[in-house]
Amino acid sequence: MSLFTQFWQYVSTHPDQILTAIREHILLLVAVPVGLAILVAVPLGILCTRYRVLESLLLGAAGVMQTIPSLALLSFLVMSGLGIGFRPAIVAIFLYAILPILRNTYTGIKSVDPSIKKAAKGMGMTDMQCLMLVELPMAVPVILAGIRTSATMSIGTATLAAFVGGGGLGNLIVTGLRMLRDHIILAGALPAALMAITLDALLSRLEKALTPRGLRLGK
């Protein structure tokens, strides 16, 4: 039996298992932690542009976080009292998702043409108005690009959640590895890869759609 027929057989005999894995993967291991990361990283990114102290502190901390190997981070989290299951997985993915969003929010705002900021201030905008009416809208494309990076990256990281009992498509991959069944590995890896590609394409569309029209025009 070829690998493909084996794979197909497995998929058709275990649809529930695979669908559950996909659902867990998307909702629990990507949507929740990335959503949380957006809620935390965008405001922090804004704060970084306002306060010099935070700038080096937060961006530095997030950078260091990024360099910790994912399995190591997961283990630390398990040991630190989160136990096994979804919780350490969600926390780890959340921590990884923060940096791209934080950094892009920060650079997106910082790279708004200073003469435009100066004009906005010169017209008598308060700092808040300048942020909400000028800096954030103009930084939207860059911030969205950061979110896209985080989201696609999370799909990959999420496959590791299985090692700490976090479920998702990683379960299939780990099972397959343990049992030396390539088709089971494939049943987890293939959807994960497709999911990453699709999500990337979708978010890139969204990015274009949400970019203010005046910014989309040439130059």
């Binding site: 043409d113 003469s115 435009i116 100066k118 004009a119 906005a120 201030k121 010169g122 017209m123 008598g124 905008m125 308060t126 108005q129 009416l133 000028v134 809208p137 103009m138 203010p212 029209r213 005046g214 910014l215 025009l217 040439g218 130059k219």
Partner: protein, 413 residues
Amino acid sequence: MIVFENVTKIYPGGTKAVDGLNLHIRKGELVVLIGPSGCGKTTTLEMINRLEEPTEGTIYVNGNDTSKISVVELRRNIGYVIQNIGLLPHFRISSNIGLVPSLLKWPKQRIDARVRELLEMVGMDPEVYANRYPRELSGGQQQRIGVLRALAAEPEIILMDEPFGALDPVTRENLQDELKKLQARLKKTIVFVTHDMDEALKLGDRVVIMKDGKVVQADTPEMLLRKPADDFVRQFIGRERLAVKADGLTVDDVAIKTPVTAPPHMGLAQATRLMQRKHVDTLMVVDDDGKFVGIASAREIEALKRRPDSLAEVVQKDVATVMQGSSAKQAFEMLFIAKVGVVPVIDGAGRLHGIVTRGSLAEMLYQALWDSNGDGEAAGNSRSNGANGQPPAPPTPLSPAQPPTAPAGPASQ
């Protein structure tokens, strides 16, 4: 209206951008700040709306110490055209122009009406442009919008930082004319920064020349041209000064000081020979006291059938003259509008002091405008070759062809 009192600005890092500045800008006045790059023009401007805070000294707007006014309040009442236009790219043109009014919470209808009014004022059809984005406009149109944005909330004071920089000369000139017209109508207090001396002299009620954060001279364009305070100013005004200085030129500056003259009793044959020898075709007839009698021209002498004995009989006496010390413009108009061939310059006692011809004028203007070694003062005086009259042929590029209608006959002296 705006008063700078001993204002100094030192940037973090130690650059002294403005150094003990004292300046009083009156209501309704258009003051131009000009000077070399980095001399502190933008800094001076931005301290008015507190985009920069002075390190020392006080700035008063309408008698109020600006450091004691709410910064947002202050800025909303001062129009500001930033050095690099700074339109908000994600706002439509209408929202860009209506920005300050909407910050001031004008009702929407009033803002819309104001936007239309302003666009129409600069000849941009609101139907076409109001809904566009800045990037859908040309550079010149964007600069117009930048100016309109500053005018929108009808502020008393407008700050303009090189609003017409980086434009082609024609568009630039058009916008300057527009601004001049606007200013004549609206009478705002405008502080205008530029690099361009022509622009400064054209627009400014007063021009403030700055160097290293200090005012070198603050004066009307007229006074600046007439009495530049020092070499820096002179050099900075440069060639343009001489060009514009034509306003202050007198006939003496452009006259040939030693025209070819002859007494009335000179015989005609002798007079003709004199003209040939000196290569001129008119003679200034002057009596023994040096008083101007009239002009004798070769053409008229030849046209006569009967050959009179002396110049006295052919001299044309009803010649238009100019008084010594009068404006060169007067001679200019006689030469080019009344089409007189030569204009004698006489003093109060009627004595001849020189003549102005198209040739002498052209040469003077050449010196003032294009001859970098020439220093306006010497022009005319030093024309020693002009003193002997220029040869009628071949014509030098400086002696324009005489129109055949010249009533007093061609005079190429």
